[in-house]
Structure formats: C-alpha cells, structure tokens
C-alpha cells in the first residue's frame, strides 16, 4: 500500500506487537498497518490461515484484532497516540 497524495497530518506512534510504528492521525488501523506493509493481521480460528483486511468497510470482520485489549475492526478504528495493537484475532 502506498499513499499517493500530500499528507499534512501529524505523525503519531502506535505499538504493534510491542514495536513502535509511525502512523498518520486520522487513518484507520488497517490503513496504518497496510502503509507499513503489514498485511497479515491474524490467523483464522478454524484453519489457522493468514488473514488481513478484505472489505475495508466493516462487513467482512477479517480485520478484527485486539486493539487496546478488546476485539475491534481495524478498518473502522482510527489510530491514536500510544494505541496498543496486537496482531492476533479470535483464537
């Protein structure tokens, strides 16, 4: 994923699996991860297959991962300074 327009927004830092990641305020977690080339967000519970954001509009639930301790949809959740993102979904 690449952003191809000017971006005046402030940079913030989120923690992804314990590592800091720079994101732009206003972006969704899914976009922030994608722009940092993190596509795999979790493994599917039944088959353990790699999964990432798919519909980007809140329907498919593929992007539901632990954000600040609770399951949230990464495509609908905006990044916030210090946000703790875990790249794991439901077990």
């Amino acid at each position: 994923m690449r952003r191809r327009c000017e971006d005046d927004r402030e940079s913030i830092t989120i923690m992804v699996d314990g590592r800091p990641l720079v994101a732009r305020a206003g972006d969704s977690v899914a976009v922030a991860l994608g722009l940092n080339d993190i596509l795999k967000m979790r493994s599917s519970p039944a088959a353990g297959a790699p999964r990432g954001a798919f519909c980007f509009m809140g329907v498919c639930q593929e992007c539901a991962i632990y954000i600040d301790g609770a399951l949230r949809q990464a495509c609908l959740t905006r990044v916030a300074e210090g946000m703790v993102v875990e790249l794991r979904g439901v077990p």
């Binding site: 191809r4 927004r9 206003g26 954001a53 519909c55 980007f56 329907v59 495509c75 609908l76």
Partner: protein
C-alpha cells in the same frame, strides 16, 4: 438521545438509518417538509460508500465528480435542520420504531413512528482458491482506499471481477500514479457492447466510463475480457494471480490455458449484495431479485415497505446505483412526510414528480449495470471443492456439499449442519453464494430466501453495549418457578 436505563428515548418524527446518497436525501426531504429528523451513520461524515469524504488533512486528491457530489450533499446537510449523528453504529431495530446504537459513551436509542432504512450495499466476491490471502481485497474496499485515503493498495495490482467498479478502480489507481498489472473482466466484450445502448441512456455516466476506459488503454494495461481469477497464490500473502478464460455464462472453459501474473495486490469483486438488513430484521415482505442483488423488500413507488411507517431506499434494499439512490431517498423522505401528515398527498406528488422522472430516466442504465453485477450461477457452480466459501469458519465448498448430501434443505438448516454463517460476518460475505450452492440441488433459488436476520446488525463489543451501570440497575425479571 436516550441512554439505556437513564431516561426515555430521544423522540423524533423520522429516523433515517445510513447517510449515503439515499439516506441523506431522504433526511433532507423529510426535514424540508417540517419534520424532526434524526440521521444516523457509523462513519464520521455523510456520503456513504460512493461519495465518501476524503480524510481531513489530505491534499491534492483528484477532483472527481463523486467528490463534488459528496461535498455538495454534505453542505446541504449542514445547512439543513436534520439532526445528523455520525459515529453511531446501529445494532438493533425493533418496535414501531426503536433504533439502538453504540458509538457514544453509553448505549443510546431513538424512537420515531417512521423509519427510513438506507444502510447501503456490500460487495459480493465469488470464492476462488486463495481468495483469503492477505493482499486480496474487495473492489469496493479499494474504492474506499482510493477515495478517502489517496492510497493505491499495492505496487503491482490486478483488478478483477465484474461490473463497473472494475474500470473505476483501475482508473482510480492509475490516476494516483499506481501500477495496474491487468484488468480481468468476467464479461466478454460482447456483453458490454450489448449493454451500450442502455448505458448511453445516461450520457454523463457513459462518458465517465469512457474516460476511465481510455485511461486504462493509454496506460497500456492488459485487459482480459471473458476471463476470471482461477486462484491466488502466495506464501502468507499474495504473490501471484492465475487467471483463465470463462464462457459467456461465467464458467471456466475446460482444458483452456490459465496463466500467471505477478502481483502483490488483487482487487476483486463480483457485484453488490443488497443486504436488506433492517427490513429483514423487521420482517417486512421480501422477494428474491437476482438483478437487484438478492433478497429485497417489496416496495411501492415511494419506497414504502409492507410495514406501516417503514421505508427503504438505496442500494442496500435493491441495487440501482448512486444516481437512483438519490431519487429513491427523496421519494422515501417525501412519503414519510406525507404519511406523517406534514405534507398533503398532492404536495407529495408535486414534489416527487421530478425525482420520479429521474428515477424512470435512469432505470435502463441502472438495469444494465445491475445486470453486469448480478450473480452468475455458473461461476458459483465452478467453485472447487477445496475452496473456502465461508471465510469466518473456514468452511469449504466440499463441506457445504456434504451437508447438502446429508439432508440440509434450507439455509438455516445448512447453517446448523456446518456453522456456515455463524461467524462474525453473519453470512454477509458468503450468504448469497451459499444459497446458490444449495439451489443447485433444490432448483429454486428464490424459494430459499435468506437466513433469518437478527440483531446485532453488526457485531457489537459488549463493552460498548454495557455503558456505565451498577448491578442494581439491571432490570432483573421475576425468577422462574421453583
């Protein structure tokens, strides 16, 4: 607004669910008739999917017709006295009518005698081997990234599937300076040529399509018509896309040569599904309409459902496209105003007339587009046994066929036999494909209808549902007899 347990619900004359082109226009029309209107959307701004607002702070995004239309709509909304409440996810609709939302600090609800459902469509992707790999995303999802984020979703992108979003996405990526490795359209050129006269009935939209197609040609992007994705390959993420020819019905041509394209992103979609979430939840009358995207409510010419006070408009309740969604929204808003006694029947007819005309004028175009996006049963039949159909629960075509062989005859039973549709997406991704698979045996897709729709309309974090409460607040009912 009503907080659960803390005071009564917020009362309005009309509640509009969804602030896309349909819902926003419905809200504006009802409010202009003097009604007190609450408009709810889970996004931060009005505009819906097609006229999505770009994120604040991004500059230099292409000035598209859609962006202008969206901005105009948002300005009209601000200038109106509609009570627009963004950031509210509707999870329950009940009664006559009560709408429960999360998104504020505490769960809230709104009550009104009139409810206009305008929650929009979602995308259908007919499964193929590897469609669950990270890097494979929906075509509609790609439009979201492009429009609101100025983002190209990969370095080498294959754009595949069916319908008008193909050219829109490919052109959008090119406009942002991205690389499209191929466009793979399931429809043969002949199908587009056949649709051409109908598409020409709305010159502005045909022209837009032509501009996109030219841009794709100028960039020398290979366009494979009459082709579809056979499988997506990669180790943990997409690396290659295998495509092959299909026949006119969308079925792979046996024994023909498939070939491989290197790509790190595949945007794929096969049209839109009208989820009919709210009208199904409230058990209005429905019918199956393949052209309109599935099980849709039966509506009169102003969007009234079979339930008094319940209206539906926009693509979520029958795929017709953004232009018709606007007119349908105005008509539904006027119908609610008329039924509420705010305007007379004559006044309603007078104000509805131009929108009825637009609606009628766009119908041919819209039918042709919807036809390109409708589900192709032959494509579904060709899904391989080992391909995952239900993404949430990793249920394959083979497992679904086995349950059908074991005697599952309707959708709810198939769900009990396999867990297909029990996951967090609640069959929104796989539902109409699964129904098509079941219909292969029963022969009658329409009779299968859809799975029973229940709240929550989208998954709700329990945390958000609870709000602040103390144990003594819980209205615990009488104990059962000993």
């Amino acid at each position: 607004m009503g907080k659960v347990n803390k005071g009564a619900g917020a009362i309005a004359d009309v509640i509009v669910a969804g602030a896309g082109p349909a819902g926003t226009n419905a809200a504006l029309a009802a409010a202009a008739s003097g009604l007190d209107v609450v408009l709810l959307d889970e996004q931060d701004a009005a505009g819906g999917q097609v006229w999505r607002k770009p994120l604040d702070g991004l500059n230099g995004l292409p000035e598209t017709a859609e962006l202008k239309a969206g901005n105009a709509l948002r300005e009209r909304l601000i200038a109106s006295n509609v009570r627009f409440l963004p950031g509210r996810r509707i999870w329950s609709v009940s009664g006559q009518y009560r709408v429960d939302v999360i998104g504020a600090d505490n769960p809230e609800f709104f009550e009104a005698p009139h409810l206009i459902a305008a929650t929009g469509a979602h995308e259908r992707v007919v499964p193929f081997e590897g469609w669950t790999l990270p890097g494979v995303i929906g075509l509609a999802g790609a439009t979201t990234l492009i429009k609101s984020g100025g983002i190209v979703p990969g370095n080498r992108i294959v754009v595949a599937g069916s319908g008008p979003l193909l050219t829109a996405v490919a052109a959008g990526i090119l406009k942002l300076g991205g690389t499209v490795a191929a466009v793979v359209d399931i429809a043969p050129l002949g199908a587009w040529l056949k649709a051409l006269p109908a598409l020409a009935s709305v010159p502005s939209l045909l022209a837009q399509g032509a501009v996109w197609t030219l841009a794709i040609g100028r960039a020398r992007v290979p366009v494979y018509r009459g082709h579809a994705v056979v499988r997506a390959l990669g180790n943990g993420r997409l690396e290659q896309v295998v495509i092959g020819p299909v026949d006119a019905a969308g079925a792979p041509v046996a024994g023909s040569d498939a070939f491989t394209i290197d790509a790190d992103c595949l945007c794929v979609g096969n049209g839109l599904v009208a989820g009919s979430d709210i009208t199904r939840c409230l058990r209005a009358g429905h019918t199956y309409d393949r052209l309109r995207g599935g099980v849709v409510p039966v509506l009169d010419d102003a969007g009234r459902t079979s339930r008094a006070g319940l209206y539906a408009c926009g693509d979520g309740y029958g795929i017709r496209g953004a232009a018709m969604a606007e007119s349908a929204g105005v008509l539904a808003g006027l119908a609610a105003a008329c039924d509420a006694g705010a305007i007379s029947a004559e006044e309603m007819q007078r104000r509805a007339a131009p929108h009825r005309a637009t609606f009628a004028a766009r119908r041919r175009f819209s039918d042709a587009m919807a036809g390109m996006m409708a589900l192709r049963p032959e494509q579904v039949r060709a899904i391989a046994p080992e391909t995952v159909v239900c993404r949430c629960e990793d249920i394959t075509r083979g497992a679904i066929d086995a349950a059908i062989a074991a005697g599952a005859k309707d959708l709810n039973q198939l769900k009990h036999f396999t867990r297909c549709g029990m996951g967090p997406c609640q069959a929104r991704m796989c539902g109409d494909v699964v129904a098509e698979l079941l219909a292969i045996g029963t022969g009658d897709r329409a009779a299968l209808g859809a799975l029973t729709m229940r709240p929550p309309l989208r998954p709700v974090p329990l945390e958000a549902l609870l709000g602040d409460f103390s144990y003594s607040d819980i209205p615990i009912p009488e104990p059962a007899p000993l």
